[in-house]
Amino acid sequence: MGGSWSVAALFWLAVTASSMTAYAAGSPPEPIAELAPFVVTDGIIAEPLQGRIGDAVRGRAIVANRQLGLCLLCHSAPIPEERFQGNLSGNLAGIGSRASAGQLRMRLVDARQLNPSTIMPSYYRVNKLTRVTPAQQGRTIFSAQQIEDVVAYLLTLRDDRGALASDAIRRIRSPATENK
């Protein structure tokens, strides 16, 4: 396509320019054939995708990375080192007190099922899409693991000061992921 993307780090368009590197850094989203099955009950996906265990530290890094997570294009979040947070939607601070893991998982997997006209992308859906670039065809925005990592992080964003985020992170980090 040509053109200089040098200052693009500040802009939303960095999305495409860096998405391949972003994928290289994380686990690549799986092609359609491997999409994990999930059950939606009353706007909730109760079970973790593929039974994976989320890592809140990785989740924070995903949310902070605007090429990978995209969240900060639209939301603000208590991630002070990231400037230029968007205001198309609300602040994610305190979301862990307002929403359950199952609600957050649903919101990330396919927010369109909650609100068909929402602008929030569906991070784990590959159908009903138009003109997707060849590089991203049949690929979800997040892998199942990344969905669980972000859910784990969002759960740490609690209003009640009693539960410090760092404590929560420690609690959520399971031995299984530590040993990987």
Partner: protein, 266 residues
């Protein structure tokens, strides 16, 4: 003494333009107040200052080169644009403001670049400038600048309606891996911050323009390709009918707004 003469004349000129703009805006259904904003209105004062002053505006480099191209002979008959069209400030005044328009032979809409290409092929018998090349941007910005200050005025041509409508459908069609439509951002969330960028209303008021992020002049299609890539959609190729239709719809949406060509954007 000179000032006494100049002042009323200047005001009169501004008055006519404002009337034309108002008339066109009324036609577009924006009767009482026109709350539409150009991308210019969303820019920082320092970026606006770049556009305001021709001696600072980087786009003027392309315009200057375009002026030279206007007089350059090409093709087997050694004709320049000027050979047929004379002085551009006169012959090209208002032309960019009414494109895309229907082309006589094919009865399909073409944009200004495609019109210039037709002159190169059919009238100059010369090799046409490819889209988005420096030469194309130079000549397009020179032609475009002759309409600076005029209202965007889509032709009153019934044949355009179906194509404009197709452009509207596309504008509202969600696309790409992020599954967002142009309207999602530009109709429903204009003025909001998408990361560090303010979402403008997507009015094609200043093309071709110098974009700081490109560090170059670019056409409206380059901008549209950027927006499509932004939502991870496969952009149309330059000059694709889908783009011309989108440009028609954008022009209809912006009817009556003033052209700023050559503009500056972040």
């Amino acid at each position: 003494m000179v000032f006494i003469w100049l002042l009323p004349a200047t005001f009169a000129a501004i008055g006519t333009e404002a009337c034309a703009a108002e008339e066109a805006a009324n036609k577009a259904g924006n009767k009482i107040t026109d709350s539409r904003k150009s991308g210019y209105d969303f820019m920082s004062a320092s970026t606006q200052a770049l556009q305001n002053d021709d001696s600072q505006n980087p786009a003027m480099l392309w315009v200057k080169d375009g002026e030279a191209l206007w007089g350059r002979e090409a093709g087997k008959d050694k004709k320049s644009c000027a050979s047929c069209h004379g002085a551009a400030p006169k012959s090209m005044r208002g032309v960019a403001a009414r494109y895309p328009a229907i082309e006589k032979k094919t009865r399909r809409p073409i944009n200004l670049q495609q019109r210039i290409n037709l002159c190169q092929k059919d009238h100059q018998h010369a090799a046409p400038f490819a889209p988005e090349t420096q030469e194309m941007l130079r000549i397009e910005s020179y032609v475009g600048m002759q309409s600076r200050g005029l209202a965007i005025t889509p032709p009153r041509d019934a044949r355009l309606a179906a194509f404009t409508q197709k452009g509207k459908v596309q504008f509202e069609q969600r696309m790409g891996q992020l599954d967002l439509s142009c309207a999602d951002c530009h109709d429903n969330h204009a003025g909001k911050k998408l990361g560090g960028a303010t979402i403008p209303e997507a009015h094609p008021t200043a093309y071709p323009l110098y974009r700081l992020e490109w560090q170059s002049l670019g056409s409206v299609e380059r901008r549209l390709r950027n927006c499509m890539s932004g939502v991870r959609a496969e952009p149309y190729p330059y000059g694709a009918p889908e783009f011309v239709e989108l440009e028609l719809y954008l022009a209809a949406r912006a009817a009556g707004m003033k052209l700023e060509t050559p503009g500056v954007r972040p």
